[in-house]
């Protein structure tokens, strides 16, 4: 009897876990989306914050608009619709970024700021065959942005502390613990380690959740 009840309860735990796009099902950690800017450009917390603002301004509007527009377009060209929408939204997003940050600060991000237009974190949705409802696009866009921003801020802060010994420009520890964290190869390694630890923590929490729902 308990076995019959076990499976749907386990499925509900999995469903809850999939919906949590910040910790349990983070788009970066679990699906590997948005890695290009993360590994090369997110070397300091300041860069991380700038990238987060860009993603916030870019992701949700793109997803909502593209969901709207894909109603009127041929199924096969959905990738095109999403990419063009992202490019169009970028015009506005870049203008707002120009108001918030100086050109010197934005130059630190280099090509990884415009590159967000083609990044899977923004475009991935086009690969699914079903069209998205506008309301769902809004909700999912916002929570995916939150998930990406959480991972981005965490990893960029970690890389700054390890690689430079500072946080947001002010020194935190004496010297750099692992200077390579500022390089792309160190970025790959640090991201792999963060994924490992994060996944272990998420697995532990999921196990706790499934123990809680198990009938006594």
């Amino acid at each position: 009897m308990s076995e019959l009840q076990h499976e749907p309860l386990q499925a509900s735990v999995e469903k809850r876990a999939r919906r949590d796009r910040v910790f349990l099902n983070n788009p970066v950690i679990m699906q590997g989306l948005g890695l290009a800017p993360l590994i090369v450009a997110a070397t300091t917390l300041k860069n991380g914050i700038m990238l987060s603002t860009a993603v916030l301004l870019l992701l949700t509007p793109t997803r909502v608009l593209a969901a709207l527009l894909s109603r009127f377009s041929y199924f096969r060209f959905r990738g095109l619709i999403y990419a063009l929408t992202a490019g169009a939204v970028y015009v506005g997003a870049r203008y707002l970024m120009g108001l918030l940050y100086t050109p010197a600060e934005l130059a630190l991000l280099g090509l990884y700021l415009p590159l967000l237009v083609a990044d899977p974190i923004v475009l991935k949705r086009y690969e699914r065959p079903q069209r998205e409802r506008t309301r769902t696009a809004l909700r999912k866009g916002l929570i995916t942005s939150c998930g990406y921003i959480a991972a981005l801020l965490f990893i960029s802060a970690l890389r700054e502390i390890l690689g430079l010994g500072t946080l947001f420009g002010s020194p935190v520890i004496g010297g750099a613990l692992f200077p390579m964290a500022q390089l792309p190869s160190g970025g790959f390694m640090v991201t792999a380690l963060v994924m490992c630890v994060w996944r272990a923590a998420a697995a532990g929490v999921k196990k706790q959740m499934s123990l809680e729902v198990e009938p006594l």
């Binding site: 590997g32 095109l80 490019g87 280099g110 090509l111 590159l115 272990a200």
Partner: protein
């Protein structure tokens, strides 16, 4: 004659540099998300994806060069650049689609066309386009860099796929399995290439 030779030399030099010393994946992390997906997934053939990627890359690079020349001085170029580059890659998408449909007929082309959007709208294509326009390469340099970028990406896919036997073994700890260990593998190769260039590349 010397002009032609010099142009050819510049083309090949930039192509070789883009494959090895400035590899899109290992030095600039372009297209990594797609690469990890591809390496785990055996359905999409590397050859088909690679050929499509290179074709789209070269065609869009040519268009991007001329558009950049034309719009370079405009005040709105920094806002419009990604959109225009996406339009160039969309145009390349249609050109390649046309060629594939003509060569393979509609029925045979179906599988190839299913892969085409994935090969067109990714960070590798857009990244290379942005780089060649931001750094103002000449025409032959743009073409060489685009070809090298595509070939370098395919080489990275081949290298990571070749390592799948070790990366997917049961011995890898559960928390590392899949994405993290692939990233670690790419990171170590990126370190090896860094030993060659010795400095972080401009982006």
């Amino acid at each position: 004659m010397t002009e032609v030779l010099r142009a050819l030399g510049s083309f090949f030099a930039y192509a070789v540099i883009a494959v090895f010393a400035q590899n899109a994946v290992f030095t600039r992390s372009l297209g990594v998300s797609r690469l990890v997906k591809l390496s785990e997934d055996d359905e999409v053939g590397s050859l088909v994806f690679g050929a499509l990627l290179c074709a789209v890359q070269i065609i869009s690079a040519m268009m991007g060069f001329f558009v950049n020349r034309w719009l370079f001085a405009s005040a709105f170029w920094i806002y419009l650049r990604p959109l225009v580059m996406v339009l160039c890659s969309a145009a390349a998408f249609f050109v390649v689609l046309l060629v594939v449909v003509i060569c393979f007929r509609v029925h045979g082309a179906r599988e190839i066309v299913a892969v085409l959007p994935m090969a067109t709208f990714n960070t590798c294509i857009l990244g290379t386009l942005l780089l060649s326009t931001i750094q103002n390469f000449t025409f032959t340099q743009t073409l060489g860099f685009a070809l090298g970028s595509g070939v370098g990406y395919v080489m990275a896919v081949a290298l990571v796929r070749g390592a799948q036997e070790r990366l997917q073994s049961e011995a890898v700890p559960a928390t590392f399995r899949g994405l993290p260990i692939t990233l670690l593998y790419i990171g170590i190769l990126a370190l090896a290439i860094y030993g060659f260039t010795g400095h972080m590349l401009a982006f």
